[in-house]
């Protein structure tokens, strides 16, 4: 990825970054939707590089948390800062924040355009006018999709399979060269081989950016290394490095979840 810009931002915030090794920081995030409490006092931070896995049972509020991080939900309480800047007062507003923090949604949604146009969809009009073949190739390769689509780049994107669409969404987000990546079950409908390729890509990308990856696949969370954040019922139950988390879970709820995949945290 674009290392220069990344270090540039670190230099800009040099002093702060040294004081805070975390790049993304959430403090006491609470969210209420339709009078239902979805997130309760969630706090954690993502280091400047490396993958963090977010796990938890269905309905724990993982997707909702990612939406809060990019202000897709904007009625949350608390403080979120990225690169030391409060996301509420992000320079350039929510649109600029969302280009900085890439989010790949749980359910893939390709736009009614060609595969090629989908990859460059988020670029500015000027950039879209220019020839972006190399960028498209690089992003599709990073998303482990290039081999399958390289000779039908100008076919409509909705002719792709769901798993391919999911990878296309990843490529589309990567084309914007975000500085943080939030992934919501990026490998949910993929075969083991593509899964492996994506994980390799993520390890590669994570060398110079923080990645937060929601997953239901505990083995994947183990493979991704980094820290594991375990959420249940809108609360963070335990945060630990992957090895510690899976080998010596501290909390009773975590042990229950790891053993029986149930979580009773009331």
């Amino acid at each position: 990825m674009n290392i220069n810009t990344n270090t540039h931002i670190k230099e800009e915030k040099g002093v702060e970054s040294c004081a805070l090794p975390s790049y993304v920081r959430l403090e006491n995030i609470s969210l209420t939707l339709s009078e239902k409490s979805i997130l309760k006092d969630v706090s954690f931070s993502l280091p400047a590089t490396g993958i963090s896995s977010l796990i938890g049972p269905s309905g724990a509020g993982k997707s909702s948390l990612l939406r809060c991080l990019t202000n897709l939900y904007d009625n949350w309480q608390g403080t979120i800062s990225v690169a030391g800047i409060n996301t509420r007062s992000w320079h350039g507003g929510d649109d600029a924040l969302r280009r900085h923090v890439g989010l790949i949604a749980q359910k893939p949604a390709v736009f009614p355009a060609s595969i090629y146009d989908n990859v460059i969809f988020g670029l500015s009009r000027k950039e879209r006018k220019q020839n972006q073949s190399s960028r498209v190739e690089r992003c599709l390769t990073q998303a482990a999709l290039w081999d399958e689509v390289q000779d039908r780049l100008h076919d409509p994107a909705n002719t792709l399979s769901v798993g391919q669409q999911q990878r296309l969404c990843l490529a589309r987000a990567l084309a914007l060269e975000p500085k943080v990546l939030l992934l919501d079950e990026p490998t949910a409908s993929l075969d083991p081989r593509s899964k492996q390729l994506i994980e390799a890509s993520l390890h590669d990308l994570a060398k110079d950016m923080p990645i937060l990856c929601v997953t239901h696949d505990l083995e994947q969370a183990q493979r991704l290394q980094g820290q594991v954040i375990f959420m249940c019922d809108g609360k963070v139950i335990e945060i630990a490095a992957a090895n510690d988390f899976f080998e010596h879970p501290e909390r009773l709820e975590t042990r229950e979840f790891l053993r029986w995949s149930v979580c009773d945290c009331d």
């Binding site: 939406r67 990019t70 897709l72 929510d94 649109d95 600029a96 924040l97 969302r98 280009r99 890439g102 989010l103 790949i104 949604a105 359910k107 893939p108 949604a109 736009f111 009614p112 355009a113 969809f121 988020g122 969404c169 589309r172 987000a173 914007l176």
Partner: protein, 280 residues
């Protein structure tokens, strides 16, 4: 049971077909190409009958063009407003405002069109002195079709999957870019379907333009939007009032057939478009 229900449903199927055939049969004596595009004297007899020199010597062309002109004007006026209403509903309205807006549109759709005609008469013609004119007819028809057009546009936008909207936002697209680059490409067919249905509606509406926009005869092509027009719908009404002459009635039936043909054209294209939308 099934047979019984089918028998009950039969009139619903047969009646429109019967009506359609009946109109065609009735229209047949007077219906020819000359009458439709006619500038010659095919309906001249009818004109002469009223002793109206200006009406003599032309077919239904001026009525057809009058109807279409008014319909176009109405759509040109109503479409942007309906679109704005739909966008307001989708982007900025609170759930409460959304409910209120939907209710309001339903109420407006329930108002008999002649009431709009009356309001138009008082407001546009008496108060603003527009006179009986194409403009008055267009504006009134625009108001008549606006609720229909707006609720169709709202539904077209509501059918856009939420994932599309969220993905567009997540890519940092501004609201304007999201509307033009994601919403319209996804929803255009639904919106166009609504527009075609509204066009059919505007073509068939008679009461509100009867005393605000049209005259029986004497107009080939309106000079300006502030001059009166003739239209197919009202032409039928005027002709039918002169029930004594057989040829006049034939021309009325022919007008009805032409009008029906136009309305069916718009409705059928709307249907086809919906079919296309559902298949893709």
């Amino acid at each position: 049971m099934k047979v019984f229900l089918s028998l009950l449903a039969l009139p619903a199927l047969l009646l429109p077909v019967a009506c359609f055939l009946y109109i065609i049969v009735q229209a047949f004596p007077a219906l020819d190409w000359e009458l439709i595009v006619g500038s010659s004297a095919s309906s001249g007899a009818a004109g002469n009958l009223f002793g109206d020199a200006a009406n003599a010597g032309h077919g239904l062309w001026s009525q057809i063009s009058g109807s279409l002109l008014m319909m176009l004007l109405a759509c040109l006026l109503a479409a942007p407003i309906a679109l704005s209403i739909a966008l307001f509903h989708a982007l900025w309205a609170s759930p409460r405002q959304q409910r209120m807006l939907i209710t309001l549109l339903q109420v407006l759709q329930g108002i008999p069109p002649i009431v709009y005609g009356l309001c138009g008469l008082v407001l546009l013609i008496h108060l603003l002195h527009w006179g009986i004119s194409l403009a008055a007819g267009g504006v009134i028809l625009a108001v008549v079709i606006l609720p229909l057009l707006s609720s169709n546009a709202i539904h077209a936008l509501q059918r856009i999957p939420i994932e599309q909207t969220e993905s567009a936002k997540a890519l940092g697209l501004s609201v304007g870019a999201m509307i033009t680059r994601v919403w319209f490409p996804v929803a255009w067919s639904g919106m166009l379907t609504g527009l075609l249905l509204a066009m059919a509606r505007a073509l068939s509406e008679t009461a509100p333009i009867l005393f605000t926009a049209t005259v029986f005869s004497g107009v080939l092509w309106p000079d300006s939007i502030f001059s009166p027009v003739t239209s197919l719908q009202t032409h039928i009404f005027y002709l039918a009032q002169e029930g004594s002459n057989a040829h006049v009635i034939d021309v009325a039936w022919a007008s009805a057939a032409v009008l029906l043909g136009l309305v069916i054209c718009f409705s059928l294209s709307a249907r086809l478009l919906r079919r296309y939308e559902e298949s893709s």
